[in-house]
Symmetry: C2
Subunit: 407 residues, 2 copies
């Protein structure tokens, strides 16, 4: 156990990061205003701000005009484009590398496809190669790169920076942090993809200014990320958020984990496709039978959505059932954690008049126990496909804005 102690350095770091965050959230803002809000004294604020200006992290703007009287304040803002961050998303089929500024704007974007299952070393080589490519193309002096964030699916140990187990790539114990730090000499942080997404939502998405929210991520599987008390919750095992294996129907279908009625078995993209295929094969009437015409490789969730849009009864039922399952699990999670927002992420939540979202929302409304003062909103992520890689970026930015992040 580490015992947290206070020192002059710590006190200064804390104050400086508080000021930096205040400028980010309320900027442009003057030194005097910062002093008023933080209750730090003007000389303290002045000194710390001047250091930040010297580091080029903030810029002094033209004095704002015409106050009631008195000297005009010098307005301060974050100098977003002075530094850069590298974000890497290692998914099942692609490696995506981006360069972004401190406000999360992506200035360079590169996607590399993974075609065959790589060995650990092949995978590391691919990642390094992609990053090298991006760094060469973008031409930034390394001293302006504040860090390199990696978002990776599967089980990750962020303290050690190791991808413990990645089911889709079938890799174990990939020491990403060590490998990439020695290769690029830039600070590296590694995190699970859904948890990285949570940080991205908090910085750039639907989780801005929200102290407690959940991300429900549906793809091949179903996962969730937990943001409470203004930070990501991991648990001591780094495995928190396994909503995919909570039970929504004790007598439901068998899941790949062996149990019956897991959410993932009722509501993943995989489950949607399996249930659809099964129905087609059992001869149920549906336009999807004609569309796929016996070739199940054509079947996709998009197609199921399209069928439902055109009034296909089977497709509608499958999507509604999916939404119901997700809704029950989400309601359970809401009742336990009482966050103020749920953010839905994944292809199946895209598009207008979405049957899955509608029945999910309906179940949540029905099953959560609230009193009048509780306002819990279900919304869709707006980060789209860039969510995870923005999470990798946010990982570093988050660190920069924490106490000690700019020393």
């Amino acid at each position: 156990m580490v015992y947290k102690t206070g020192s002059f350095e710590g006190m200064k770091s804390l104050n400086q990061s508080t000021i930096l965050n205040l400028i980010r959230l309320k900027g442009p803002i003057s030194r005097a205003e910062i002093a008023k809000i933080t209750k730090l004294t003007p000389p303290t604020v002045g000194g710390l701000v001047n250091e930040l200006v010297e580091k080029n992290l903030i810029i002094e703007q033209e004095a704002s005009k015409s106050n009631v009287g008195g000297r005009r304040p010098i307005m301060l803002s974050i100098n977003s484009s002075a530094y850069f961050v590298v974000g890497v998303y290692a998914a099942a089929e692609v490696i995506r590398v981006v360069i972004a500024t401190l406000d999360g704007k992506i200035t360079f974007d590169y996607v590399q496809k993974i075609t065959t299952l790589p060995t650990k070393n092949e995978f590391l080589a691919m990642v390094k190669e992609s990053i090298h490519y991006v760094l060469t193309e973008h031409e930034v002096d390394k001293k302006y790169i504040l860090g390199l964030g990696v978002a990776m699916h599967g089980l990750v140990n962020p303290d050690k920076g190791v991808a413990i187990f990645s089911p889709h790539l079938q890799l174990r114990d990939v020491p990403l942090k060590d490998e990439l730090e020695s290769e690029f000499n830039i600070p590296v942080m590694v995190e699970n993809d859904v948890r990285a997404l949570v940080i991205a939502e908090n910085w750039f998405g639907q989780g801005q200014g929200v102290s407690d929210f959940l991300c429900l991520s549906v793809g091949r599987g179903v996962g969730s990320g937990i943001f409470i008390n203004n930070e990501v919750y991991r648990s001591s095992f780094n495995t928190a958020g396994e909503i995919g294996h909570t039970i929504v129907d004790v007598n439901g279908p068998v899941c790949r984990c062996g149990n019956r009625g897991c959410l993932e078995a009722c509501a993943s993209e995989t489950s949607i496709l399996e249930r659809t295929q099964e129905a087609i094969e059992s001869g149920r009437e549906t336009v999807l039978a004609d569309w796929t015409n016996g070739d199940k490789s054509i079947l996709s969730t998009e197609l199921v959505f399209k069928a439902a849009k055109e009034g296909d009864q089977l497709a509608s039922t499958i999507l509604e059932d999916t939404g119901k399952s997700l809704g029950i699990a989400t309601a359970n999670m809401i009742n336990i954690l009482k966050p103020s927002r749920i953010i839905l992420e994944g292809q199946i939540f895209e598009g207008e008049d979405n049957l899955v979202i509608d029945s999910l929302q309906q179940m949540v409304n029905q099953y959560i126990l609230t009193n009048s003062s509780e306002d819990i909103k279900v919304v869709c992520s707006k980060l789209g496909k860039k969510g995870m890689v923005l999470g990798a970026v946010a990982l570093i930015i988050n660190k920069v804005f924490m106490p000690g992040g700019v020393n």
Copy 2:
């Protein structure tokens, strides 16, 4: 939003509380050892320790004998009995007031029964009267009382110290903190009973040294308390932990909240009694029919347990079903939060070879998704009936040991 800043006072408070906690956890311990562990310098430790000695919060013990050589260290320990804390538990049927020392030892214990539903003012008067009685009987100078903690069932706002809604007493907006502070001139903290229990488990019970654990509390209803990242989680609505209304069986019995299959409808004491009574009335064979002989007021959970012990099939089934429901809900909560411990509290978890616990444990084993390194234990609370009132006590003690708690 409050912006957290560092100051000299804050730095000192932090170091002093770190030292105080270290003495509590590792004491008897010397100044030199504290300096080594905390990485604070000997003069810093010396100064802060001497202040604590002056305040009588810690005591210097006889120097421990014979080291390898060199001056013998002066051992420091918490002076538990120098100060006192008042704990109040306001339940459905009783008000319990205790006085305890800093190590959680109860030195005076008083229980007042609530016989009729009181009005808000009557309730406040009863509480005040009970506390007055205890303070008079115990004869402690008020300056040695560090605070007064109140654990109350229902919805509580701990920031304002108001009991927003107490279903069993049918009271709303009881301003306990304001009323008791002006009556006794002692700092008052108010908290929900289950969350107070969580703090008690962390200080004196099965949650000692555990950073993430859950308390599952079963009585008339079913509730849970969440301890994560080394603190109680409340959510911004102060209503986190409503496991009682998570769904364990979509087609289950109707709950008082209106939905079907809530845990509380399947597994509270009330539910056990209702299901038993129903079975008796429908003429099922059971010794309970003879024992109660038509008088359902005699029926109790103890009786159901006794029947099961004697081999009664109905009683066994009811208890096992109860355990199964609790197990499914607990497994769901575990999968979401991945705590390292679950603490069971309530009368139905007492006694050896407990059928409820056995089937709960079995369900948890079956349904939680773990990898080899995850060790999640289900244990029973050992605090017994004193759990909640110890929580009220722990509320204050917890504050005393936090930075700024001893200024």
